[in-house]
């Protein structure tokens, strides 16, 4: 597969702080790449840099083989960017906002009307096109941003939190539109919603302090957890001494507690019985065992240190 986006040692600094630390990677054409990571890990900056919204301090970015800085005029026709916060003009209607950007992209009027109607129907905002932006909720504005990005039919679509502010129905519509584009457009998006990431991805990149900490398919990332399970046992009363005693069990990894619930990770189910054996003096109310998902992988306080 050919590369749609290529980064070569791309770095971004802000006030002496490294936001992106010499990142290098390529993205295949038509794939969906999800960027996840803690707050301030560099996800949004990476998207802004990819879209040409901000210039990197060093390194090169190529969109379909063209340098994003040197060939800006051509690359900005190929890339569209959806920011996290809506940036629509509050004194214009949704349609006027979208049409203005479409006109700057020199999209013929009839095609523009057709695309606006089509995408706003798909994203459920057709009824809001004539509304002034200042009267609309952030969720509708966010969907309008997606329509604005899609009307230019970009080859690369970068989205910062695609479903932020959007209700459940809207989220479904957005995900459907993104999944529909799989294979046709390259989509790179950042998200904190791990359920959404699990649904829409060909590849997941976990960012940490401006570096790529992990990179691969969901299956590959979960394989790094070495078949760990997450266990949760709810006791009638869990005192500090019992918690310490249970935490000290050799097969227990990254223990934590929330009220009377004792949560830990373990490589096999035996860890669960080891804990129960130690806790004979305490009444057990409930328990659960589950295989590790993306959420646990990202749960830095409880899992990541021990599972990496």
């Amino acid at each position: 597969m050919e590369a749609s986006v290529t980064l070569k040692k791309v770095g971004k600094l802000s006030g002496g702080r490294t936001i992106l630390a010499g990142m290098s990677f390529g993205v295949e054409r038509g794939s969906i790449v999800a960027l996840i990571g803690d707050n301030d890990s560099g996800k949004s900056t990476l998207l802004r840099v990819l879209a040409g919204y901000e210039k990197p301090e060093y390194g090169n970015i190529y969109i379909h083989g063209l340098d994003i800085v040197k060939r800006r005029h051509e690359t900005c026709k190929m890339v569209a960017y959806v920011p996290h916060e809506p940036d629509l003009d509050p004194w214009l209607t949704v349609e006027q906002n979208i049409r203005f950007i479409g006109m700057l992209h020199k999209i013929p009027a009839d095609k523009l009307s057709q695309r606006i109607a089509g995408y706003s129907e798909q994203l459920g905002i057709a009824d809001f096109l004539q509304e002034n932006v200042s009267n609309l909720s952030l969720g509708i504005q966010k969907r309008a941003l997606l329509v604005r990005a899609l009307i230019q039919e970009p080859r690369v679509l970068t989205i910062d939190e695609p479903t932020a502010f959007i209700d459940a129905d809207g989220k479904r519509m957005v995900l459907e539109v993104l999944l529909d584009m799989r294979g046709k457009r390259t989509i790179i998006y950042a998200s904190q919603d791990l359920d959404e990431v699990e649904l829409a991805n060909d590849r997941i990149m976990i960012l940490q302090n401006g570096h790529i900490a992990m990179d691969g398919t969901l299956e590959k990332l979960l394989a790094t957890t070495n078949q760990y399970h997450q266990f949760e046992i709810e006791f009638e009363h869990l005192d500090e001494a019992t918690y310490k005693e249970l935490s000290a069990v050799s097969t227990v990894v990254n223990p934590s507690r929330v009220g009377n619930k004792f949560r830990f990770y373990g490589r096999s189910r035996r860890a669960f019985f080891h804990v129960l054996k130690r806790a004979t003096a305490v009444v057990t109310n409930d328990f659960s065992i589950k295989t590790i998902g993306l959420r646990d992988l990202m749960d830095s306080n409880q899992a990541r240190r021990g599972l990496e």
Partner: protein
């Protein structure tokens, strides 16, 4: 490209057309009461012997033009840039920063000229003028140039200021300076010689002097056109570079 900006300007104007027209109708009345009615008692005639109410007429038009321009550029280059990042998606389209600035300046000037035309009729009712009709057309041309200079200054302030308080202080100080240093309300002869010499060479002053020469003495000075035009072009280029730097793109 310019059509997109014109269309946007029309949409924006359309959404607040009544406010715009009422302001354009009220502004000349307010200026007449607060400035002309008072000043004509202090300065009945200019140094050149023109009746003050007539002499100040082009000055009042320039004030109206500037007041019509300020909110448009404040909104586009300061408020929406700083608070809502509305200009950012425009920078991601295949047009240059220079084209963005040109698009916004040209359309803002067009709106400001329409605003001036409404006010001009009201002002003509309040101040009977005895000048040839063609001089009003030339006046409009000078308004465009005056606004060209002012628009560039306003854009520079908008791009440099990051906080609204800073912006307002700089803007108000600058407007006061232009009002009293460009011969808009008072003839330069009333100023100390050194100040009068410096002020008389400002591009806005040259434009004011130029239009008065045409309106009241039927004399045309090429310099009054060429010099401000050069200033506009150079300043526009500086603003383009400044905007490019500020956008970090």
């Amino acid at each position: 490209m310019i059509w997109a900006f014109l269309q946007r300007r029309w949409w924006l104007t359309e959404n607040r057309i009544l406010t715009t027209i009422s302001t354009a109708l009220m502004l000349p009345v307010i200026l007449y009461i607060s400035i002309v009615a008072v000043m004509e008692n202090i300065i009945p005639r200019s140094i050149d012997g023109v009746v003050y109410t007539q002499w100040v007429f082009p000055g009042l038009i320039m004030i109206i033009a500037t007041l019509g321009l300020v909110p448009l550029l404040y909104r586009d280059f300061f408020d929406l840039r700083i608070h809502r990042h509305v200009l950012q998606p425009v920078t991601l389209t295949p047009i240059t920063k220079f084209e963005i600035i040109a698009g916004i300046i040209i359309t803002a000037i067009i709106e400001s000229v329409c605003f001036v035309l409404i006010s001009l009729f009201v002002l003509l009712i309040l101040i009977p003028m005895s000048v040839p009709v063609y001089s009003y057309f030339i006046l409009i041309f000078y308004v465009i140039l005056f606004n060209g200079v002012m628009a560039n200054v306003l854009i520079t302030i908008s791009l440099l200021a990051e906080r609204v308080t800073t912006y307002l202080i700089i803007l108000l100080s600058f407007l006061m300076f232009i009002l009293f240093s460009s011969g808009i309300l008072v003839d330069f002869e009333f100023y100390p010689p050194l100040l009068s010499q410096v002020f008389a060479n400002l591009p806005t002053s040259v434009l004011m002097a130029g239009i008065r020469q045409i309106m009241f003495f039927n004399r045309f000075d090429y310099l009054s056109l060429i010099y401000p035009m050069i200033v506009i072009v150079v300043w526009f280029a500086v603003n383009g570079i400044l905007y490019k730097t500020k956008a970090h793109q």
